[in-house]
């Protein structure tokens, strides 16, 4: 599907709309993934009650924060890491 790329420019309003919506969806998709991962970490072995208790809520918040920290940590390590290790992936 092309949104009129060959017959002139893309409508700026439409292009902006798509950009905003993709950004929003990227966020939502990561929330889906994080909710999945952090449910396993914090809720899988818990008897579910009528409310989320504060201990589990704290666990969920920490889980999200540490997941992002881990992502950033790995990015930093890969950026500064020696090339011999990364070259094993032979992505070139």
């Amino acid at each position: 599907m092309s949104l009129g790329n060959e017959g002139g420019q893309i409508d700026p309003e439409l292009s902006h709309f798509i950009q905003v919506e993709s950004q929003k969806q990227k966020f939502t998709q990561l929330v889906h993934e994080l909710a999945d991962t952090c449910w396993e970490k914090c809720m899988a072995d818990v008897r579910i009650g009528t409310r989320l208790d504060s201990k589990n809520e704290t666990c969920l918040v920490n889980c999200v924060d540490r997941f992002i920290d881990t992502t950033n940590f790995i990015v930093r390590k890969l950026e500064s890491g020696n090339r011999s290790r990364t070259s094993k992936l032979s992505m070139d």
Binding site: G4, D11, L14, I18, V31, H32, A35
Partner: protein
């Protein structure tokens, strides 16, 4: 998906607002499907430990509670992720 089947500029005017509405509907549908799938996975694991010949009423109650908790957890995660992004952004600027 009717709006997409018309080639642009071929007489039939594609209404921009209509396209946007359709995109939003498709996104909402995809998110609902994703939520349904994850919720079913988690709540089945939690509540139906020994599948019997029917969904017992205790299992139904458990699934109902589990659905509410999953949505609650989803919202907590969403808020936490948003706050973390904000913090990271402030740290960088």
């Amino acid at each position: 998906m009717d709006g997409f089947s018309q080639p642009p500029g071929s007489g039939g005017t594609v209404d921009k607002g209509q396209i946007m509405d359709q995109v939003k509907t498709q996104i909402a549908l995809a998110n609902a499907q994703e939520l349904l799938q994850k919720m079913t996975d988690k709540c089945f694991k939690k509540c139906i430990t020994k599948p019997g010949t029917s969904l017992a009423s205790s299992e139904q109650k458990c699934v109902e509670m589990c659905m509410d908790r999953y949505m609650e957890a989803w919202n907590v995660v969403s808020k936490a992720y948003n706050a973390k992004l904000q913090m990271e952004r402030n740290r960088l600027t």
